[in-house]
Symmetry: none
Subunit: 224 residues, 4 copies
Amino acid sequence: MGIQTRQIRDRERRRQQIIAASKRVFTSKGVSRTTIKDIADEAELSPGTLYIYFKNKDELYASLSIRMLKHLQLSLQRVKETKDLSDDQRIDSVKKALLELYEIDPLMLINLSHLQASETLDNISPELYEQILDLSRRSLQTLSEIFAKGIELGSFLKRNPMQLALVLWAMFSGLVLWEESKRSLDTRKDFLKPTLEIAFEIFGRGVKPGEPVSTPAPVRAHFS
Amino acid sequence: MGIQTRQIRDRERRRQQIIAASKRVFTSKGVSRTTIKDIADEAELSPGTLYIYFKNKDELYASLSIRMLKHLQLSLQRVKETKDLSDDQRIDSVKKALLELYEIDPLMLINLSHLQASETLDNISPELYEQILDLSRRSLQTLSEIFAKGIELGSFLKRNPMQLALVLWAMFSGLVLWEESKRSLDTRKDFLKPTLEIAFEIFGRGVKPGEPVSTPAPVRAHFS
Amino acid sequence: MGIQTRQIRDRERRRQQIIAASKRVFTSKGVSRTTIKDIADEAELSPGTLYIYFKNKDELYASLSIRMLKHLQLSLQRVKETKDLSDDQRIDSVKKALLELYEIDPLMLINLSHLQASETLDNISPELYEQILDLSRRSLQTLSEIFAKGIELGSFLKRNPMQLALVLWAMFSGLVLWEESKRSLDTRKDFLKPTLEIAFEIFGRGVKPGEPVSTPAPVRAHFS
Amino acid sequence: MGIQTRQIRDRERRRQQIIAASKRVFTSKGVSRTTIKDIADEAELSPGTLYIYFKNKDELYASLSIRMLKHLQLSLQRVKETKDLSDDQRIDSVKKALLELYEIDPLMLINLSHLQASETLDNISPELYEQILDLSRRSLQTLSEIFAKGIELGSFLKRNPMQLALVLWAMFSGLVLWEESKRSLDTRKDFLKPTLEIAFEIFGRGVKPGEPVSTPAPVRAHFS
DNA sequence: GATGAATGAGCGTTCATTCAT
DNA sequence: AATGAATGAACGCTCATTCAT
């Protein structure tokens, strides 16, 4: 391994060090109350150093999401390309992909959701902005394609697949964001994971075509 | 009506004047880019005056949600108390209540969602904090009770009703927050309302008990 | 005098207070080493207050020159419009106008010269920039018109009058700037005023038409 | 040539390399907007290396003027020492020396003027400071001696020769500084050189003794 | 109660300078 | 000698909040 290789590796290591520190501080202080100095202190670096690795505060913040979006995109792509899955299995795989995302790094996921839902994408460099946009688009697109295939096969409701994708994502990120504020609202701890399970169950059931058996028809039959 | 009564009414009127101005400014400039001075200008008052009616910026910000939460709580209460509704009709009423919330003031709803999902509830006065907490809790509680009744009647899946309530709220607020960022992600405009419709359709279908008739053939065989 | 009048007067007074403090600090620390905090301290105000009266540092700096430029423009205009002055008297009036400028506020004049000679006109508001530009242009223009009239009357050398104006101004501001650095170069103090006198004398003599009688006269006499 | 000699020569070569790079960057970005990193990049060196050859930024900046001042001093010395020049020719030689200075490196001359007129001579090493001081003094001194000789011979006005020297230098540097800002004031381009010509013409005429023949009639009457 | 000028802590960011390699 | 990552003091500037009028 040459000198250059080591330098590149060191550089990447430093970036990760800063990113790790950012996560910790964002977690403990909240994103908007975190200052560059806080992160620098946590990373045991000087404020100036952060600007060697990140153009500005927004860009550092946005960088946190890139990895996660890449991971998501890859997972969904894999789900889409796997052959011989039943519809139930495919939905289940999507659920697993998203739950995994949450388990790997719940705080990052909250950041990602915030990023999408808020006004941070402002001072960001065009390149990074485009990258985030593209990754978001592609994940949704892949999810949408999974639904499109299911619809073709008659195993999903005939609805705009992109809208189905959005509904699923909204359900997921809505719950994740809720989790963040649950302390304030003193719901029990670790309510999230079981609730996500239920959310997916309901979505899975709801997206299947055909009249659910719940409705009176059979019941009346019973009485007749 | 005594002098005191009028003073109280005047005071409340002023508060509403400020709240209305805040909404307009938040709408046009975005929440995080709005300063106290902006709001004061819009309300044709001085910054100092705002501090007579609101303890600080966070408290003003939080007040915006109070009305909406009250409205929501009332609507849900009404849905819960209405007699002689089929399950489908009851879910439909909840849908209507939430859609109405969105239609009355989409931006305020985004604010509300932000408020819950983020870091504003910090400098707030204990009283206001308790009020928001209580209203949120009560809305969810009411929603949860609606589901509990349905579960009792066997018309909803036997799941923790609070979790069902959370799933529905997450789906709703997740989509609303998405709406805010959709311009960046170049989804078509006014994608939200039809998507909300689909979201409710899926939730409604998914929450019903019984094996969905996804694979029609055997099911029919069963009935024949 | 109404309340409004007093407020306007107070506001102007505050501006002058800041300007006066700026001058003092610029003088003692040098322009580029003066910080907003320095000026605020000197004016016994807080840094924030300066930004109520001046958009930014550059604008405060530029404002220092406006008055002086206005004064200059007025003086030159008066010189130009005065009737029945001999050429010598007119040049003398210009000299007096410039010397007066120096005597009223030598430091301000140095600032003005710096402003023109350097890179400060950068963050300035377009309006202020245009004002400075316009005032500079008009002063030079007036000076140039004075020369043009003299040339027409045959009492000045037939040279581009704008160039004559520039030469005079350069001589003047060059000496003023020199003055600032004279401490470093340990020339005697108060060398400037007598040197300015000589400068004007030489300019006045040099700008007159006709072969100076210095050497030629006797020589030609010799040949006749 | 010994090793030491070569080392010294190499060292000097490196210095010149840095100086040359500085000039290029100052030219393209303007002095105040140039950072050490800019210069290092242009010189294809690292910032640290610059500090091996120059004590600090001010010292590097000041070094730029040394060459020019040396050149000026030499030229003026030559003018002074040349025998058998008429007064007109001697003034003309001074003019040529200064114009040459401008033509060799107009931007460096602006720097020099700035340096003298402003606040850079501060963090400079005592040695360098003394050197600049000495060179400036000597150039002015030489110029002054040229005038002194002319005065003795009766071909120049009997004025303090150092003041005459200052007036000439002020005129020159005033015009050079003006050039820098002329774009803003939309004077025609390349106005400088012809204006410098006129400046010298006027100075040359003005510095000659005797009553100028400005108002021909009475003067001739006098001689008849 | 209403004002709005004044405050000043605190922010993100820059960049001359240092120093371990 | 050369490097360039790291430093951290210092900057200009903002804005929620206060308080004399």
